[in-house]
């Protein structure tokens, strides 16, 4: 029996205070197995101990919300008995250590979260942040992560339909790999994880257990340092083939009424899944580890409980239904084993080789897990003064530079490695504002988008987080969807540092404010903290994944110009806000100022107006204005439709063309309709102005010259392939 020393406690990521608390809760010293269990259950990753108090402030309910945070994924009603189930999750640290397998198993994990609730996954998204393009590791990480996401998702036959990619030196040692899965279920066939009742069989299905990723959950909660690359054998290898079988087998069993509760084995595997099921069901769980299907010999109880082998699920069945379930899993050639039983003791009891190796009250692992009110410092919001810039710079040369810059260039290199059209319901593939995926067999469709602008969040976490929500809402609106709800993935540095905790609190408050104002509740999410290397934190990155509903997919807008001669209208106020803009960073070489403020009332007013036109079937061409500003947005529309534009401004000033003011859209529609729309906008109090007309083969701005589309497109398409082939990259300031 291992003697527990302070050293061992520390290696388990537990503080001396936390260890004392464990002794109190148990009324004795924990043994080594129990210590392992506590260490994962009380890790930041599983317990949310730094963020829990703040997350409570988020709006999580709404008339359509069926299930908010707390289950494996959020559930929202989309009418006709259909429900959409979705969640986003990070796999940051594993992807840095082994990009292909880290990203692949991240995809597998989030898919299990969604199908464990009874949904068939129908779309995947991925939000990726890498270090500087010229950092020695970047290319290797990008290629491995993208291949891993594709490798897993493509094999599962679920289309990957969108995402985000950013580059910034703050991610040099801590890339972010956030994956989102969206699934569909019937509202009367949603499965939860509460292991209710006693005497019910606890069943293990899926892959065998090996020594994979032991202490992965603890690792995800610890700051990186030079030697964490030594923790290598903890890498898990994904097996999408087995996961696909697991998906089909689970859905087949779910069509019966044999399941009481089901829970995927994610981080901390068997331990956290059984504790969570018991906790939610108010019951106890007794497991016999001898019955766990094992891939390796001589595994200890500690190893089996903490293993993070992938592609496994835990279920509680109605008594007597085991044979029926076993038949289904046998058909799909998956392991199936009754490994335990629910009890009425509210204790987690683990037996191995005839002995009780752990016996703990379940509430001690879950409810009693520490919650910290960590001290935080919220730095003052930066002043919203316009940064200095050279007003004489030629506009078109800047446009060409921007459209081919790391954050604005085409992500085609990425998305062409993802099967975007499998399932034959992808109505909008990557490249637009939101992906659109039809609800199979209907005319309804889901709109999905992932958004956050980390440089805004760094400058002002509150405004930046608000902006992330607003941009996501705007992206749904731009295709004509009614935004329904969001999932979030809060990626931050070390919460034990007050300034980082300040970013977390500011970010959560900003999300809360925007979600409330836009009736866009948070139904699921994930926190990834300690994203620091040698004390250098990442930019605060609260990624927002939104889902919206198009009631009739035939009334939808896309970004591509469709006709020459359309009038171009600008919705929203343009003040020329250059603080924290891409223009300032790429052209002037400075990251400074305040992020553009978001006026949530105007955001809502403008968006509702635009959506209304699409829903009425009067508008088919829309793009929201985000990174890069107005001229970049117009150029994207022109490139997508291979039709140019001629713009006339009263004053073609740089700030107006490249500023990143929020709440704006560009619309293209026939001239006769445009006149009517301008009138309606005025009546609705929506700020709208004419910009010019579509046509030709170039982007022309009166008084500022022009640039051929072919040249813009070449710049837009070439940066990413050049990066990945190791070619010469255009200079970055």
């Amino acid at each position: 029996m291992t003697v527990i020393t302070p050293e061992i406690v520390r290696e388990h990521g537990l503080s001396p205070d936390e260890y004392d608390r464990i002794k109190q809760l148990l009324n004795r010293e924990p043994n080594f197995v129990e210590l392992g269990v506590f260490s994962v259950m009380w890790s930041e990753h599983c317990s949310y101990k730094s963020t829990r108090a703040h997350l409570r402030k988020l709006p999580t309910t709404g008339p359509l919300v069926i299930q908010g945070p707390g289950e494996n994924a959020g559930v929202v009603d989309i009418g006709d008995g259909d429900a959409v189930i979705f969640k986003m999750e990070s796999h940051n640290h594993p992807s840095f250590i082994e990009p292909y397998q880290g990203a692949a198993t991240g995809v597998g994990g989030i898919m299990r979260d969604v199908f464990t609730m009874g949904a068939r996954p129908v779309a995947m998204m991925n939000a990726l942040r890498f270090g500087a393009p010229d950092h020695a590791k970047t290319r290797h990480l990008v290629s491995g992560v993208v291949a891993g996401i594709g490798g897993y998702g493509n094999c599962m036959g679920v289309p990957t339909v969108g995402g985000e990619v950013n580059f910034h030196p703050s991610y040099n040692g801590n890339i972010l790999v956030n994956a989102m899965c969206v699934g569909l279920a019937r509202t009367d066939k949603i499965f939860l994880s509460a292991a209710k009742g006693s005497g019910n069989p606890v069943v293990y299905v899926g892959s065998k257990t090996g020594r994979d990723g032991i202490h992965g959950a603890t690792m995800a909660s610890a700051e990186f340092n030079e030697d964490s690359e030594e923790k290598r054998p903890t890498v898990q290898v994904g097996d999408p083939f087995t996961e696909k079988l697991l998906l089909e087998a689970c859905l087949e069993l779910m069509a019966t009424d044999a399941i009481i509760a089901i829970q995927d084995m994610g981080a901390a595997g068997l331990t956290s899944s059984s504790a969570e099921m018991g906790d939610k069901g108010g019951s106890g769980i007794e497991l016999n580890l001898d019955r766990v299907p094992q891939r390796e010999e001589n595994m200890t109880a500690y190893e089996m409980l903490l293993s993070e082998s992938q592609e496994r699920m835990l279920m509680v069945l109605k008594p007597g239904r085991e044979p029926e379930a076993e038949r289904i899993f046998a058909k799909w050639e998956l392991d199936f084993a009754v490994i335990g039983v629910t009890t009425d003791t509210k204790r987690l009891v683990i037996k191995h080789k005839g002995a009780v190796v752990a016996d703990m009250p379940i509430t001690a692992l879950s409810d009693e897990a520490p919650v910290y009110q960590r001290p935080f410092e919220r730095k003052a919001a930066p002043k919203a003064t316009q940064p200095a810039f050279d007003a004489a710079r030629p506009v078109m040369a800047s446009l060409l530079r921007l459209i081919g810059s790391p954050d604005l260039c085409s992500r085609r290199w990425v998305w062409e490695q993802y099967d975007t059209t499998v399932m034959a319901d992808t109505v909008q593939v990557p490249g637009g504002d939101a992906a659109v995926v039809r609800v199979h067999g209907s005319n309804k469709a889901l709109a999905i988008s992932c958004d956050v602008t980390p440089r805004y969040c760094k400058a002002d976490p509150f405004e930046g987080a608000k902006q992330a929500v607003a941009e996501c809402w705007r992206n749904m609106t731009a295709v004509g969807a009614t935004p329904l709800a969001v999932t979030d993935n809060l990626n931050f540095g070390n919460p034990q540092r007050p300034e980082i905790m300040g970013e977390i609190v500011g970010g959560i408050d900003g999300i809360g404010e925007a979600c409330r104002a836009l009736s866009f509740p948070v139904v699921s999410g994930n926190c990834s903290l300690y994203n620091e290397t040698n004390g250098e934190p990442i930019l605060p990155t609260p990624a927002i994944g939104g889902v919206g509903l198009l009631k009739d997919v035939r009334r939808m807008a896309t970004v591509a110009f469709k006709r020459a001669g359309d009038a171009l209208l600008l919705v929203g106020d343009t003040k020329g806000h250059l603080g924290q803009s891409i223009y300032l960073r790429e052209i002037e070489g400075r990251e400074e100022g305040a992020p553009p403020p978001v006026d949530l009332a105007a955001e809502k007013r403008n968006g509702d107006f635009v959506r209304g036109l699409i829903e009425q079937g009067r508008l088919d061409t829309v793009h929201d204005i985000s990174d890069g500003g107005l001229l970049v947005a117009i150029t994207e529309m022109a490139m997508a439709g291979s039709i140019g534009a001629e713009l006339t401004f009263g004053d073609a000033a740089i700030a107006l063309l490249f500023g990143e003011d929020q709440g704006r859209y560009i619309l293209a529609l026939p001239a006769s309709e445009a006149a009517r729309v301008l009138g309606e906008a005025k009546a609705a109090g929506v700020s709208m102005s004419s910009l010019g007309v579509t046509g030709g083969d170039r982007i022309a701005v009166k008084g500022a010259g022009d640039a051929p589309l072919a040249k813009l497109r070449a710049a837009h398409e070439s940066w990413f392939p050049a990066l990945m082939s190791g070619g010469e990259l255009p200079p970055v300031n």
């Binding site: 250590i97 082994e98 397998q101 892959s207 090996g210 020594r211 994979d212 290598r232 054998p233 890498v235 898990q236 290898v237 994904g238 097996d239 083939f241 087995t242 891939r295 390796e296 082998s309 992938q310 050639e333």
Partner: protein
Amino acid sequence: MKARVFVTLKNGVLDPQGKAIGHALNNLGFDAVGNVRQGKLIDIELTEQDEAKAHASLKAMCEKLLANTVIEKYEIELRP
């Protein structure tokens, strides 16, 4: 000089391919087949004539590129 490099998964690392191959062989009636693991082999032609130097250089290639030492191990075989 020619070399053959074998790259295999470290012990304990899950090998989904090997598992599936073993399964398929059993299904085909090869009952004597137990555990199966799949790896890679890489045949390399080298202009280097000196064995020791070739070996050192191949080792460097494995560490840098040929093996993913996070999950894989390698063996080098020179075939002069």
